[in-house]
Symmetry: C2
Subunit: 296 residues, 2 copies
């Protein structure tokens, strides 16, 4: 088993994490958090989303956060946009790296975004066209790729088809996502050969949640297939909307601890990420989910 | 990669777990907990230790616990004994399955048991002789096999040598243990070929702590080498004596969730284990460490 020499860790804590926190973090606290994360060496940070302030009040300060952070050369700061309205707000705020969010389960798509999978792709075609025209970089999430809270199992063939459709839109990579944290390594070992039969590994990122403790085992399984981009959330910020007391996103510190132990380079300073989390921790109102940071 | 068809889960929560809990659990609550675990299908349960009541008051009711549990046919109930005095108390209480506990680090041996590694082996020679004479089954732990809180790295060659010495005493298996939860899968992939060069996998159990989130990744790495016995603690009971807020033992529920997902049989009912933990939870005074049970 040959492991990759280096891996890109895509930090999603400021967006995917904070969006699911019940505490409202102040704009200056968010800016300080993001600046600490970039100073720690994280080179891909999803900082916010341009979504309905009514639906997700935690991210209503998207433009202010983007205006306030210290942009480090070489670091990419991305924002999620659900539609053309979000695209316009994001580009008005100077965003050059965008992310879109599709579902692999029809029921989840309806419940989460109030539209069918096909309807979301129609919207994303417009977003992708505008992004290409503007020379912007576009990333995609494919949620519920390992299972759906409403439909249960999601066939790997559907994940392959939708990943393909997202890449055909022009996104540079698809973050194949275990939205509810039910994936186990056998699923990873079954899905990846199917994805990689037609898609180069550089176009695939994996986004695991640690809701049942399996996230790092899934990362290990994926590393063996040559996957080199993994999403994680500093501190394990975010929780799980489907189980109030449960863990959500894989914690960046835990991911870095394992990768560095494996001899895989990330360019990120683990304890600097952990310090960034500890600085934010008092605002969260609950214990941290990162096992590494708990153990410091 | 071929996974084993079936795995033995050795439940250590009632001993290794409760010994490190600050709350004193009542004898009837312990008995009910153990009976629920055996009813859930766990066939190897370490129920207590015959140690100094002064040093470990949580386990001072060892004989009463053993007398109170409902012994299910086919289930083995073991007890840890640190010396011949413990051996006599255990066998007086009717114990037929014993465990001894050696360290791979000299400093840890001194600090944890107040004697050198060689002195502990002298004591265990007597225990092993008496166990063999009595037709009793003896298991051994080798602690700090992946690192020591005082000495840091522990050379794999020393782990191989001490595992060999323990097997030469007549133990049926050695639980190679990551006492402080720092192991990562590269260590597992490096150590196991060295152990398995001269020792059949049936004599090796692995005992991981989840202090930095890597326990299940380590189990996955070990399954690929044909290891078929893993220790775990229901609920993740136990914490970590070296980091007060941190996670200790790998939670049995999380281990079962991954194994069952991988298609590996255990004969254990995952939700029955989780129910046993939830029944005990109010007595513990802190949130559970099992991610699976948190997510129910």
């Amino acid at each position: 088993m040959t492991l990759p020499l280096a891996v890109t860790v895509t930090e999603v804590g400021p967006r995917d994490g904070l969006q699911n926190e019940s505490a409202q973090i102040s704009t200056p606290d968010k800016i300080a958090f993001i600046d600490r994360l970039s100073a720690a060496g994280l080179r891909e940070i999803e900082v916010t989303a341009f979504v309905s302030a009514k639906r997700i009040p935690q991210l209503s300060d998207a433009a202010d956060v983007l205006a306030g952070i210290t942009k480090r050369p070489g670091t990419r700061y991305s924002a999620l946009v659900p539609n053309m309205e979000g695209f316009k707000r994001a580009t008005d705020a100077g965003v050059t790296d965008l992310a879109i969010f599709a579902a692999a389960s029809e029921t989840f798509s309806q419940r989460n975004t109030n539209r069918s999978i096909d309807a979301s792709f129609e919207e994303y075609e417009a977003v992708a066209k505008a992004a290409t025209a503007g020379g912007l970089r576009l990333r995609a999430y494919l949620s519920t790729a390992f299972g759906c809270p409403f439909e249960g199992e999601v066939p790997p063939a559907r994940v392959v088809e939708l990943t393909r459709r997202l890449l055909d839109l022009g996104v540079f990579e698809v973050a194949v996502s275990d939205t509810i944290g039910i994936a186990h390594p056998a699923q990873v070992r079954a899905l990846l050969p199917q994805l990689l039969a037609t898609i180069p590994p550089a176009h695939i990122a994996l986004h695991f949640h640690d809701t049942r403790g399996t996230a790092l085992a899934n990362v290990l399984a994926a590393l063996d297939f040559g996957i080199t981009t993994f999403d994680s959330s500093a501190g394990g910020l975010g929780g799980c909307p489907f189980a109030p007391r449960a863990t959500g996103n894989l914690a960046t510190e835990d991911l870095l601890y394992m990768l560095h132990g494996l001899g895989v380079e990330t360019g990120v300073d683990l304890n600097a990420v952990s310090d960034a989390v500890l600085a934010l921790a008092p605002q969260l109102g609950h214990p941290l989910a990162s096992r590494y940071t708990q153990a410091r």
